[in-house]
Symmetry: C2
Subunit: 194 residues, 2 copies
């Protein structure tokens, strides 16, 4: 029984690793509430993000994040500063999008998410930092027609990530394995499947 359960789990994980989108990710900039971090990580797992990035001053948030991510299959990479994080993304040839409530920001649907992409998400109260906004390639906004000033950060993240998922699905990007085989094996090994 135990063995067949673990075989089933192995098969499921093999399958999901095939659909992983290593060139699609988010970067949390000082997002502090555990329920928001948890919701973002669940969404990332659901659209096939392999690794989530974060910049945090408070190491306490890392613990929260790790605990929250325990039921999903997403890695976490920390960066000391937003400059370092964005440098890392640009080295990898990713377009850097910052979600930002600005009249000049472009509609999130006008972006081509089949390109390698990272979406920066800002802190609950203060939003993305001026550095993040200055260094990003584009500011994007989810349009709103009500009285509320902003959406919940995990909600905004999900709306953008599912736009990306829709575009990538239409482009057949979930039908070819993108994660390299070595990373697949390593992930299975670390998950207890040697």
């Amino acid at each position: 029984m135990n063995q067949s359960m673990s075989m089933e789990r192995y098969t499921r994980i093999r399958q999901l690793l095939k659909m992983r989108q290593p060139d699609l990710t988010v970067c949390l900039e000082e997002v502090t509430k555990a329920h928001n971090v948890s919701a973002v990580i669940r969404t990332c797992d659901a659209v096939g993000v392999h690794k989530v990035h974060a910049v945090w001053n408070e190491p306490e948030n890392l613990r929260k994040c790790t605990a929250m991510g325990s039921d999903v299959w997403v890695k976490t990479q920390l960066h000391n500063t937003i400059q370092q994080a964005i440098g890392h993304f640009k080295e990898q040839g990713m377009q850097v999008l910052v979600t930002h409530l600005d009249d000049n920001a472009c509609d999130f649907r006008d972006i081509d998410y089949t390109k390698p992409t990272v979406v920066l998400l800002g802190q609950e109260k203060t939003g993305a930092t001026p550095d993040a906004i200055a260094l990003a390639d584009h500011s994007i906004i989810v349009p709103m027609v009500g009285m509320v000033q902003s959406l919940n950060v995990s909600v905004a993240a999900a709306i953008v990530m599912y736009e990306a998922q829709g575009q990538r699905q239409a482009a057949g990007m979930y039908e070819v394995q993108s994660l390299d085989e070595q990373e697949c094996q390593l992930t299975l090994f670390k998950g207890g499947f040697p």
Copy 2:
């Protein structure tokens, strides 16, 4: 100063009432966490929902909801049972969609949201009740390719509501006033603009 601020606010509210979508709404079925209720209400305001519906056994949740909704411009209507709620929607000729993690559920993008529509959202732990599922016209699902079993409820709500927003925007439904003028006047009056 005070007078010009309130004139500005009046103009803004007049404008948003013009874009309200009275035939698009959600119904929360025993969603219990305040931060989820709050996030759903913010999203509803942002896509132009005029009134949110809820079925709650615990009156305490109503207080939470009212407090959470204070910074937005969305009304709340409570129903004693999900049967009564769904009866109310069907009387108004709405299609009733239940978000439900079932293999037979249809992809949320395959729905025509330009029709009068209500989206039922289930409780955080247990999901939508069997009654809700039985009485709804369609079960819909947001596809997931990871290990996580489900999305956060406010996240799922937002993904579906922004699909509706996109379809309605494309159909020009934000360019004509749908809320009847009497309801507009009443809303402005209650908001302190006689």
